[in-house]
């Protein structure tokens, strides 16, 4: 008999940034209004852009297929609103580069009912049919990675999966979307787990929740259906507890090999919001056309958790959430790993877990000192890398040594080392640049 609520020790190392979740964690998810024009990029995930199946001036219904996957490393796109396709043209993306997108103008008076598709029946569908349905629903990792979920779930032929981990840790400061989903969409999560267990063949599911959301863990544990082979686990509050490798280590005491995948230790992990979307969409054959995001930080007046249509221009979202005009720094995602923005003229995409705005500047306060060998970074790195040494090698341009002797390519840019460094060395930034160099050289040779 599975006990449903268990406390686990965490992983070694890591850091304790301020959680900063008080402002939004108790705010119910609110539906966000439709922008006058939506911009749906064809590439919102890791992989190949989707292929449009609509043409300019065509009228579409909310939830209708706009673009279909181009091969396996690709997912479908759906209309975020009932309206008319204005054009298919280039639009700025997060990186600042222009990429093709579908511009859609919602009809103001429309009922905005969502189109239904062919349901994926849990009881009759085969694992492959479930993966197909997930791809057709356009689902990607909603924790921020935006990796196509069906690819992640596909079990390599030579492996079996024994455990599905549903990741509700949400260790990034400020973000409270997973928190709200776990409070408000418990039924969807449980349905999602059923699909996922069937798709992967895993015998059990573990739902992981951080110790700062204990009430959520309790209520999930109390609501678990009796026939669902699932348990709820409380892990210590520590960053980056939500990283796949750290979570698997904490829950199962297994170490994903360097350069390997969770399936190498018979595990699949899925973000809890992704799991909830699967449970919400698949029974109705619908596609993902909105997601939950946290808009917060000191630079936002109407902080909150919003169910926002994918393709909503950021500028519109911020006007609605009433951004402070003194805002100095903005980024997508949490403050540890989020991406800084140079422009607000980009749309919300499937991978956007939050939008955080700060008002204070930091340039002046960050004088860079030489590395003093304090070992703070070594004690922080969850992968037991040596960021101090890596930083020195990066400065010296010794990229190959970084990769070959110091496992640079394992670094997942969690930011813990830069966060603690008293010398204010931009370690992560250097590692990113070094990785890009290495990839370039390896591609060339």
């Amino acid at each position: 008999m599975l006990s449903v609520l268990r406390h686990q020790p965490g992983f070694a190392h890591g850091v304790h940034p301020p959680e900063a979740k008080e402002d939004t964690r108790d705010l119910r998810i609110k539906q966000f209004p439709f922008a006058p024009v939506m911009i749906v990029p064809l590439l919102q995930h890791t992989g190949r852009p989707a292929l449009p199946v609509v043409r300019e001036a065509q009228e579409v219904m909310r939830g209708q297929l706009l673009a279909e996957p181009d091969g396996d490393m690709s997912v479908a796109m759906h209309a975020p609103a009932t309206g008319v396709i204005q054009r298919i043209a280039l639009a700025p993306g997060v990186s600042g580069r222009m990429a093709p997108a579908i511009f859609l103008q919602p009809f103001p008076g429309s009922s905005q009912e969502v189109a239904e598709g062919i349901p994926c029946e849990l009881h009759s569908a085969t694992p492959e049919e479930i993966l197909q349905a997930i791809q057709n629903a356009g689902i990607v990792g909603l924790g921020g990675a935006a990796f196509p979920t069906h690819v992640k779930l596909r079990v390599p032929a030579d492996r079996t999966i024994d455990t599905l981990i549903v990741n509700g840790v949400e260790c990034e400061p400020y973000l409270t979307t997973d928190h709200r989903v776990m409070v408000e969409q418990q039924g969807d999560i449980f349905t999602g787990i059923r699909y996922l267990l069937k798709a992967t063949g895993a015998g059990r599911a573990m739902i992981a929740v951080e110790g700062n959301k204990r009430e959520v863990a309790n209520s999930l544990a109390a609501a678990l259906p009796a026939d669902l082979p699932a348990s709820v686990h409380v892990v210590p509050v520590k960053y980056p507890q939500g990283a796949e490798k750290m979570l698997i280590r904490a829950l199962l005491d297994r170490e994903v090999p360097s350069g390997g995948l969770p399936s190498d230790v018979d595990v699949v992990t899925v973000n809890v919001a992704t799991c909830a979307e699967i449970g919400r969409l698949l029974p109705h054959g619908r596609g993902i056309q909105e997601r939950v995001i946290t808009i917060g930080g000191p630079g936002i007046r109407k902080k909150g958790n919003y169910r926002i249509p994918i393709g909503t221009p950021l500028r519109f979202a911020l006007e609605y959430a009433s951004m402070d005009e003194r805002v100095s720094r903005v980024f997508l995602g949490g403050p540890m790993m989020g991406q800084a923005l140079s422009s607000l003229d980009i749309p919300i995409t499937k991978g956007t877990s939050g939008f955080i705005a700060f008002t204070e500047t930091r340039t002046a306060a960050r004088h860079e000192f030489p590395c003093i060998h304090c070992a703070y970074c070594v004690d922080a790195c969850p992968l037991f890398l040596n960021p101090s040494q890596l930083g020195q090698l990066a400065k010296a341009g010794q990229y190959e040594r970084m990769a070959d002797e110091y496992h640079l390519l394992d670094c997942f840019e969690c930011g813990s080392c830069s966060y603690v460094c008293p010398a204010h060395i931009p370690l992560v930034q250097r590692f990113r640049a070094a990785k890009a160099q290495i990839r370039k050289r390896r591609a060339a040779s």
Binding site: K245, M336, R362, F369, Q389, G415, P422, Q429, R432
Partner: protein
């Protein structure tokens, strides 16, 4: 919000930081040294105050001037050279001629720090480099000790203090001997209580083991000092001392005397823990500490000098990068150790 929007700063992640800063760490080390310095002045009076003042000033001035000469911004404000100056002063005999103090300060910072490229690049603890230079150049002056708590210590200064450069210092009054010298050359033990409270002769800042420990505990509690280093040093000295004393009590002093005498406490807590010149992993720090402890014991027992902390630390500083080279952390997912 105007149409073009606010001006945005772009930084890469992470967008927040712990607030730790090199100058804050260094400043706290200075704070931890202040009680030790205050006790030095209490115990040795004006002579110690002058020694510490000149040591501090010579180090600060050297760093400032060399930065200026290199047309670089002065790094005095990062507080690291203040630590060097204070530590250096605390390792000197209180009655050392001031011109020698200034020379050693200059050499320590110039050769031990600036030559290597400044903070973060110094292979050795600069304070000890200065001290080692003096020891080699002026061995007699460096082993001349004054009595602690002399009644006239706040009104008079030993004649040697103001010896003009290159003249042989003249020593007046009662000269004291350090507990280690007393034991080595006269076979006489000092009370452990006196050693703890600092009621003995010695370098100005090495005598009061208790205040040094308090400073160390403060820094360790704030994660500004790796406690494993002093723990390993003191542990290994205690172990070797205990074994030797058990085998031959008439030749070797008891472990508690080994621990609390001489410069061991000051060295273990404040010198060996120089972050730049010590290993980066915890395992490396333990090995490094044990090495220092072993060297200290060997020099004290079998060397020509009564004290060996300084050379032990300098030697271990030299080995430190090699310890780092061999003992990298075990990377996650590469097989369990």
């Amino acid at each position: 919000m105007n149409r073009r929007g606010p001006t945005l700063e772009i930084h890469t992640s992470p967008h927040i930081s712990s607030g730790a800063s090199v100058d804050v760490i260094m400043r706290n080390v200075v704070y931890a040294l202040l009680p030790v310095a205050a006790f030095a002045v209490y115990s040795f009076g004006l002579a110690a105050a002058l020694t510490l003042g000149v040591a501090l000033l010579s180090c600060l001035a050297t760093e400032h001037l060399l930065c200026r000469l290199a047309a670089a911004p002065s790094t005095v404000s990062d507080w690291s050279v203040a630590i060097t100056g204070l530590l250096y002063g605390l390792t000197l005999p209180p009655a050392l001629p001031l011109w020698m103090v200034a020379c050693g300060g200059f050499i320590g910072v110039a050769m031990g720090k600036c030559l290597f490229g400044g903070l973060g690049y110094n292979a050795f603890n600069p304070a000890l480099v200065g001290r080692a230079f003096l020891q080699a150049a002026f061995p007699v002056a460096l082993t001349n000790w004054t009595q602690p708590l002399a009644p006239d210590r706040f009104v008079a200064v030993p004649a040697s203090t103001f010896t003009p450069p290159f003249a042989t210092p003249v020593y007046d009054g009662a000269s004291g001997a350090t507990p280690l010298a007393l034991f080595k050359f006269e076979g006489q033990l000092t009370e452990t209580g006196d050693l703890l409270l600092g009621l003995t002769g010695g370098s100005s800042g090495e005598t009061c083991a208790l205040l040094i420990l308090v400073g160390g505990i403060y820094l360790a509690a704030r994660n500004m000092l790796n406690w494993r280093i002093p723990a390993a040093i003191l542990g290994s000295v205690a172990l070797f001392g205990w074994v030797a004393h058990a085998l031959s009590p008439q030749h070797y002093p008891p472990a508690e005397f080994m621990l609390f005498s001489g410069g061991l406490m000051l060295g273990a807590v404040f010198m060996a823990t120089d972050m730049v010149a010590s290993p980066i992993t915890h395992a490396g720090c333990v090995i490094y500490g044990a090495l220092i402890g072993a060297l200290v014991t060997v020099i004290r027992f079998w060397g020509g000098m009564p004290e060996g902390v300084m050379y032990a630390i300098l030697l271990a500083n030299a080995v430190s990068p090699h310890i780092d080279g061999v003992l990298q952390p075990r990377v996650f997912g590469t097989g369990r150790a």
